[in-house]
Symmetry: C2
Subunit: 155 residues, 2 copies
DNA sequence: TTGATAATGATAATCATTTTCAATTAAGGA
DNA sequence: TCCTTAATTGAAAATGATTATCATTATCAA
């Protein structure tokens, strides 16, 4: 739990209110954890991190709030094939900015990358346009992930 | 269970043997189901389809064999965010050929597309090269998916 | 046909995620 | 500040997909 909790709760307060939600300790704590990590955390990771400061916030509450945060677009849920979901602040709210993931099939380590974005933007623009027309599909989102074997797992 | 079961079992027999596996009724049936559908089936879907012809093949066996088939690269496992995995014959063994997926966030209908592959190949080639060098990562695989709302869910 | 061993089926166990429901709390107005 | 009300919570139980166990059966090379 780091310094800018206050800031987070301030900028989120409005966002929550206009969606009919309240600002609670649990929500503030979850956002705080997510804002101050570079890792990709599971619901349980987040629960454990929060638990040190607020031992009475339960895992259920963490799950419930993550779902809500995903729904209003503040958090993104990922599946890296590990058997449980991982969560990140969405690009817009994160210091990381736009990025994609490179996932080790062996140890599930995840590397964020934001290189080669020109190629990617080109590809995405063309493909999204083409697909939405051809298949009459309203495209909301995309997922690009690379899988492989990381340096340490290769040794 | 359609006509070409015999064919399937024939071309798979060798593949299995050289990996130390045996050809069994369950494996033949799973491949047969997958070869004769355009859908994306869950383990249970496959189990149910097989069950009509071989009522004594259990769900456990289907799971076990799917895992094995994924391991030797004949089958690919997908997660469309529905809470259970879906399986397809891999590109090389399927009549579908190389394709990606367009997933409806509402009803989880999946559209296969293979348009815009020039853009995609370009993007993939550059990105994979760049990433594997920069991050010293041996890239094995990639996942590209688009999510949105399909025609009928928009009405 | 037979022996070694891979594969199977039934059942129980796991494990992440959800549901239930009574108790608590945030937030806006009196 | 106090009240009201609906949103939120925690604990516990339920769910649902997937895996592990283990005794039995089936495959296939010799």
């Amino acid at each position: 739990m780091k310094k800018n909790s206050k800031q987070n709760s301030r900028w989120m307060h409005g966002k929550f209110k206009c969606n009919g939600y309240r600002m609670t300790k649990a929500r503030e704590a979850i956002l705080d954890i997510l804002a101050n990590t570079k890792d990709h955390l599971s619901a349980e990771d987040i629960y454990l991190a929060i638990h040190k400061f607020y031992p009475n916030i339960g895992l259920t509450t963490v799950y419930r709030n993550l779902e809500m945060l995903v729904n209003i677009g503040i958090v993104v849920k990922f599946d890296f094939g590990e058997g449980r979901s991982k969560y990140e602040l969405s690009d817009h709210y994160s210091e990381k900015g736009h990025h994609h993931h490179l996932v080790c099939k062996e140890c599930y380590k995840v590397i964020d990358y934001s290189d080669f974005m020109k190629d990617e933007l080109n590809f995405l623009k063309n493909t999204e346009n083409g697909l939405s027309q051809k298949y009459n599909f309203e495209i909301r989102d995309h997922l690009i992930q690379f899988f492989g074997i990381c340096e340490s797992c290769r040794k």
